[in-house]
């Protein structure tokens, strides 16, 4: 009988989770290991544990979100924290209050963790420098969405055992995707090879400086990869006409039943949601046996619990 001992001597010291770019492989592994311990909370009779009892979490969302916001709220609830929901539309931000004023006012109420989503890249970092509470980035501009990167990585590791040596394609609107960036940082740090796939018009300007391969043809990579992560076309962020028509995009970059026939039989099909069925992915594939899209959502809960637990731990020890 071998006792499982992972990341034993490590000490987590960050009271903010701003992005995965700045984390070491060891830190990422530590979060994933910690998340394993939170998974079972969601499957037992009392779906709650006490580590954040008496703490207050605020969901500070300046952009629309359903699954990330709900996931953070449920994760906070399961750790016994109290949660304040704050959305742009129903708040004084619509009256012209600044990000910092909003956060300071919330802090005056005695909050411990701010989960922030903002359309400006760097907003979470700005907050972390100006308030005392822990800051968790839930998506900033085109920069990072660290908990999504972590939950994607967690899902792959759980099924494949390790990221080491895996080939992972991230397909679609890379330019506007903070998920692609956070995925890239986490997955490459843990030893995977990441390939960005999409039309040149949807690649970020300095893509060649990133630690990824680039391909403009899904047909070229589909046979080689172990994991394929299909991104949603973010119509709300698109300027100009990056591709001639939706149908043409779908023809070249959609994950279809036909294309899946050429993929490895154990390929993992992922999608951060929300899905545009029939556009970047066909329904039969999204609901097919290789799809782990719903597992991603479930795992996201455990990962977010782990992140909030860890930043709060670091804050407690820095007092």
């Amino acid at each position: 009988m071998a006792l499982k001992r992972k990341s034993k001597q490590f000490k987590w010291h960050r009271k903010h989770l701003l992005g995965l770019r700045e984390l070491s492989a060891e830190e990422i592994t530590y979060i994933l290991d910690t998340a394993e311990g939170f998974e079972q909370i969601s499957t037992r009779s009392v779906k709650k544990a006490p580590p954040l009892r008496g703490k207050v979490v605020v969901n500070l969302f300046f952009e629309d979100s359903t699954r990330t916001r709900n996931s953070f709220a449920l994760a906070a609830n399961r750790l016994s924290a109290d949660i304040i929901e704050f959305t742009k539309k129903t708040s004084s931000v619509s009256k012209g209050e600044s990000l910092l004023d909003t956060a300071r006012n919330l802090e005056a109420l005695g909050i411990d963790i701010v989960v922030v989503r903002h359309n400006a890249g760097g907003a979470p970092k700005f907050l972390s420098r100006n308030i005392n509470a822990c800051v968790v980035n839930a998506g900033d501009g085109f920069c990072e969405h660290p908990t999504q990167g972590l939950l994607d990585t967690y899902t792959i590791r759980k099924i494949k055992g390790s990221l080491e040596g895996l080939k992972i394609a991230i397909v679609g609107d890379i330019a506007h995707s903070r998920v692609a960036r956070s995925d890239m940082w986490a997955m490459t740090k843990l030893g995977a090879e990441v390939i960005f796939v999409g039309p040149p018009t949807l690649m970020p300007p300095q893509v060649r400086q990133l630690p990824v391969k680039v391909s403009y043809s899904l047909d070229e990579v589909i046979e080689k990869v172990d994991v394929i992560n299909m991104l949603r076309i973010q119509f709300e962020r698109l300027g100009g006409n990056p591709f001639p028509s939706i149908r043409e995009y779908s023809h070249y970059f959609g994950l279809t039943v036909e294309r899946m026939k050429r993929a490895k039989s154990d390929i993992l099909v992922m999608h951060p949601g929300p899905i545009n069925r029939g556009l970047e992915i066909e329904s039969e594939v999204a609901d097919g046996r290789n799809s782990v899209i719903l597992e991603q959502v479930t795992n996201g809960l455990a990962v977010r619990m782990a992140v909030m637990f860890l930043v709060n731990q670091a804050a407690a020890q820095q007092k």
Partner: protein, 175 residues
Amino acid sequence: MKVILDSGQIEQVLNELRDRILSETPVELDIAVIGIRSRGEVLAQRLSGQLSQKLGKDVPCGTLDITLYRDDLNSPNSTTQPLVRTTEIGFNVDDKIIILVDDVLYTGRSARAAMDALIDLGRPKAIRLAVLVDRAGREFPIQADYAGYKADTSPGKLVQVNLVESDGKDEVVIE
């Protein structure tokens, strides 16, 4: 460093614990063993194996991680940062006699945390506490139902339980 139990004595203490558990638990009741990570886990596995053998039926065994239930999580003075690990209990605890196993009973804080963690998994018929070493220095009103070796160790000392499965050899030492 002083050895207070060698491997033969550890085996003897575990046999005594097993026999007392058997004599005090009616055979018609379902019994299960749950160890507190990490040394309690090893002891629980040994104990459940022995109980299964004596009873001629499978006595399920599980592992409880109590990190999330510790009372020093938000304390700035805690020197170590606990790693959250998995709770692995593959059976329903409802209506069972749960033998909760730990290596050392000292302040009673781990046992308190373990009981809270267990109750979140269901409603056992009873929880009984079995420990290899019963060390003086309780801070909570908790006592073991099945206490092995009693150690009257002064507060500054460390009682370290080493087991073959996790540490390479069976031995209890005071440092």
